[in-house]
Symmetry: none
Subunit: 291 residues, 2 copies
């Protein structure tokens, strides 16, 4: 069986390295980006440039996308010259992160419009993992659609898990963010507690490594918080707060989120104090100001 021809919408910080890894794996890839010049590096590496999402869809078997937000995904699907206007490609795989309810709506609308299948496949690991082809992908969709999508994700991911029907990938990303966002806030609280009670906070990461307190956020942000090193942000307070706001909205009346609420309130206070665009490690500053 020959390899399916792939389309990729959005060659930004995350999309470009994913396209490069697909090309390296021997796939033909057609690319499109709203600002066409941002696709230059993909074209230089062997990708074909499409004029519009519809033009791209007409040339492909499977269409992938990694876009900024739900509005951008809606535009490439259902806007002028959108993917939904073309009959032909079998499947849409969306690596963007967005509200799970919107995802389900888009999947259903697309299937009704042109019969395309849907996999929501938000990613975790950031640009380092996108470049290394070691993303963690949480997928939602039918088993039949997933069977088509799974091998295509092998060049870009170290782990792809089907979590349930359409929307389940986005919902799992929110579950991930509950834990990630709260853990960063807890590490800030713990580092401040150590400092205020005479424990050498710079020794914590080593002393607690491998135990119940250990995690990637602890190893990465703990030392930054202990030394108050906030340069070269690894992620901003505002970005994480946006995710916790989505979690609160999705959970409302459905799933209690008291820990997320506590973390969200500290992040909101951080934004109020002018640290929205600062590194997430500055949560330790906000907690420290409260005593």
């Amino acid at each position: 069986m020959s390899k399916p021809k792939l389309g990729y919408l959005g060659t930004g910080l995350m999309g470009l390295p994913m396209v490069l890894n697909l090309l390296k794996a021997g796939y033909d890839v057609v690319v499109w980006n709203r600002t066409a010049s941002k696709a230059d590096a993909a074209v230089a590496a062997g990708a074909t440039l499409a004029d519009s999402p519809a033009d791209l869809a007409a040339k492909c078997d499977v269409v992938m996308a990694c876009l900024t937000n739900a509005a951008a995904v809606e535009a490439v699907l259902f806007g002028e010259n959108g993917v939904a206007s073309v009959k032909g490609p079998a499947l849409f795989v969306d690596f963007s992160s967005m509200d799970p309810e919107l995802t389900k709506t888009y999947g259903a609308r697309l299937r009704a419009a042109n019969g395309m299948g849907w996999i929501d496949a938000p990613v975790s690991g950031g640009t380092p993992a996108a470049e290394a082809g070691t993303l963690t992908i949480m997928a939602g969709g039918t088993e039949a659609d997933f069977a088509v999508a799974e091998p295509l994700m092998a060049p870009i991911a170290q782990r792809v898990t089907l979590m349930g029907p359409a929307g389940a990938g986005q919902m799992t990303k929110l579950v991930n963010q509950i834990i990630a966002g709260c853990t960063m806030t807890i590490v800030a609280e713990a580092v401040n507690f150590a400092k205020k009670t005479g424990v050498d906070a710079t020794r914590l990461t080593e002393a607690l490594a491998g135990g119940f307190a250990d995690s990637k956020p602890f190893q990465i942000f703990g030392p930054r918080m202990a030394k108050e090193t906030f340069e070269n942000p690894l992620g901003t307070v505002a970005m994480m707060l946006k995710d916790l706001d989505t979690i609160a909205a999705v959970g409302a009346g459905k799933a209690a989120t008291p820990m997320t609420e506590a973390a969200r309130s500290i992040m909101r206070e951080s934004v109020n104090r002018g640290r929205g665009e600062a590194d997430i490690s500055t949560l330790v500053t906000t907690i420290s100001e409260d005593s």
Copy 2:
């Protein structure tokens, strides 16, 4: 140099596996437990049973203890037939978790009573790590006392760090418990969120392994919470709540603990609902009842 003869007070959930690992490493161990029958397994594995803490101290070079709380430690040290009434053993190593200020007091009182050195050495990792001999130990005490204690902890720990003078081990344990206790609560919140929003919670541990959400509490308690498997408690709600109460008391007016407060309130509610002695994984039940 022959191996020092060890005494071990308290052969409960944590103490028993530690004693078994010390015996396996070739140490002679004398044990004592308030309820003597709880020492049966240690005796069956080769330990000698003492009649009282004083009887145990008279037979040992180094006395270790892992007890429920400060009152229990105070009783074995300074109560009738307590360790402090015996001159002979060089060092007391306390694996119990308790208030750092009380620890300092006990260390000073013991040294004044019979000249014994003091290491506070609270542990992290729960019964799985106690059984595997891979506990994380945060120690407080003098460098001279630590030099005696450190090799004795090799059979039970993967990492032992001297964090400062007497009391610094307990304070670091509180820092550890801020993160561990809150993380368990967050994992409960995340698992409940997954269940209530149609995500297959039993796949979370695998799907998010190696990412920002991953941790030992996530790997150990996540699957128990997802499957509602609460048998063979790995740690009770009441035990963790006790630690968070201490954190709140020590932090009061000194270090803000908003995340700990949120977790504490959920644990207190769990106790109110009759799950104080249940596995910590039952936090998912409490959160689930709140929606």
